[in-house]
Amino acid sequence: MGHKTFSRGIHPSYYKELTSGKRVEAATLPKTVTIPLQQHAGAPCEPLVKKGDAVAEGQKIGDVKAFVSAPVHASISGKVKDIELAQHPGGFRSISVIIEGDGTTKQWGPTGAPVDLSTLSAESIRESVRDAGIVGMGGAAFPTSVKLAPPKGKAIEAVVLNGCECEPYLTADHRIMLEEPEKVVWGLRALMKATGASKGFIGIEENKPDAIEALHKAIGNSTDIQIIILEAKYPQGAEKMLIVAALGRKVPVGKLPLDVGVVVNNVGTAAAIYEALNWGKPLIERIVTISGNGVKEPRNLKVRVGTSFEEVLNQCGGLVEGGEVEVLNGGPMMGIAQPTLAVPVIKGTSGITVIAASVIKSSVYDACIRCASCVSACPMGLMPYKLGDFGKNFRTADFKDWDGVSCIECGCCSYVCPSKRPLLQWIRLGKLKVRQEAQKAAAAK
């Protein structure tokens, strides 16, 4: 206690001990991969290959001219089997390139000492980051190159690396910080160089003392980077919560971190930038925590993008037998439930959480008793019990008036509700209605 943090929030059970002590291991090379052309927030890519083409590991197979986008690459060598609409872990269908592997792998790795950052220009870093298809690896998958190109007149003073990993069960970021702290620190310096920021911060929750120590060692005596130890509280890793906790700056309603001179990136993103700039390796694999009470042997695996959930889960002893399970892309608070295990791991898959039996929530709920738990938990200072009712009953004007659009969808309200009301689900409905009305109004003009 006594560490920096934000107001309100919750203290869920974390269950991180299932995987926090397990080294990251390489997953077996998949025979086929399904690579969605949309793995990022923004415009989907156009395929650059066609059925029957031979592709090499790391070859760019999809790109688009749009500013907010990131290219995708082949994660294995082989032949393009097909290009088709396939189920995407985001809960929709996306055009995907299916590659049948030839079993060969390419060696990516150190080619000597890390590149001297002073020899790189900000512009070249940005280009390499975009070329490598790097996106935010905490889950939202926002194209990193976009964050590195702030609009004119907005100066970036600080880059904050997000090492909070406040989602229960997930330990992928923890293991990166512990096992590859030099990559994280180098990546952070590259981000500072690209944005012109003079200061770098790494925000870590106090429950990862070994990672804090490893990063301290990697930073050494340098003063350009500072580690900020934060209270273990959910959603500490939400961008706005992290910035206010670490730097005391509040991102105004409807604004972005860069409006307060800050850019936030995940620690995994920083490590990916290291590999891209030093080894020329695009973002074709990532560390995934496979955990939960529904999987037999929880592990941390380095998985090729496009590997199916089923293949990954089979390397973790498979699912527990009998009964229902919920398989999530991400952690239990913000993850998305999957209708099939055929969905692929994508750039934003920080974890595959499988929950079973008693942990699965019931769909029955009671009346609101106005216990105020949701009001005391909402990190955005909203009144979720009201917004839930407005969303559920399509009272869009009231929903907007009570600032429903400021909701960051962290799920604290639903988590604490003793009546088990699906508050966030209703709030999402409210936000959807607001969007639809705006679209309608725009179309009418």
């Binding site: 066609k50 009964g323 399970v325 239990p332 009346a367 216990c371 019990y385 600032d403």
Partner: protein, 339 residues
Amino acid sequence: MDTKEIKTAPTPEPPSQAAAKLVISSSPHFLNTESVPKIMHNVVTALLPATAASVYFFGWRALLLIIVCVASCLVTEYAFQKKRNKPIKIYDGSAIITGMLLAMTLPAGFPIFGAILGSVFAIGVGKQLFGGLGYNIFNPALLGRAFLMATYPVLTTTWVWPRTMEKAVDAVTAATPLAMAKFEGKLDVPLMDMLLGNTAGSLGETSAIAIILGGLYLRYKGYINWKLPLGYLGTIAAFSAVFWLANPAKYPSPLFHLLAGGAMLGAWFMVTDMVTSPVTSLGQWIFVIVAGILAVVIRLFGGLPEGVMYSILFMNAFVPLLNKHTRPKVFGEAGAQKV
């Protein structure tokens, strides 16, 4: 490439025969273990010390009243839910709390038929007519008590001495410390007796210590917000201190106000009623401060010796308004509190 070439993948086969059934739901996918029945049952537990104290001081008659009220509340709740075709939720404990609280505000000699009537009114009118748990505006137990007060003004204020007092021998009608202070100008009731509960008064209201014990249990469990009971009691103490300091011979001391009548029971179990108290921090402060001032004003200058019940009921009516106008500031919002 031509988009026409893109075909839809067939619906994926289930991965294997032994595969578990996949469930889909909206995030968050795991919730804490709180529930409405759990909260309510903890409140019932917290009322047990006061129940025990009432039986100790007023005998089996007290227990009989409590049982009658709880049973009538449960039956009324059941009847309304059945009639309204709603799921039967009498086991959630909320009707038990209403019954216990109502009984605790009654004198030990209160007639059984009156207790039944009060319970039916509390649950029927005070709760179910509004739509059941969560929809009522007023605290049902207090509404039941107010109904009885209006219906049987004499019976609701005909007190008996606790059996532990020697005066109990000539157990005619007794006077509560508040009534003695108001109508007889007697301010010399020993505070220790008031703390323990050895005075005339309503069943569960006399023993401050038993109520505090239950309140602290609820605080420990995290089911009450400290600012509600302490804000209410603090306001009563501070506001009554003004008069006491001005004229200690005429006005009772703040400590007397805290220990007398329903202040303790009201502060720990009625002001803290989740359904009928505000959800915002500022709203809660306004609620308890105004209620505390009202309680003292009624006690000192009103026609009644006790003002706790009406102070809380009065403020219950303002809760929706308070919630609306004391919304917290949205994160990153410029300017002051929304009004």
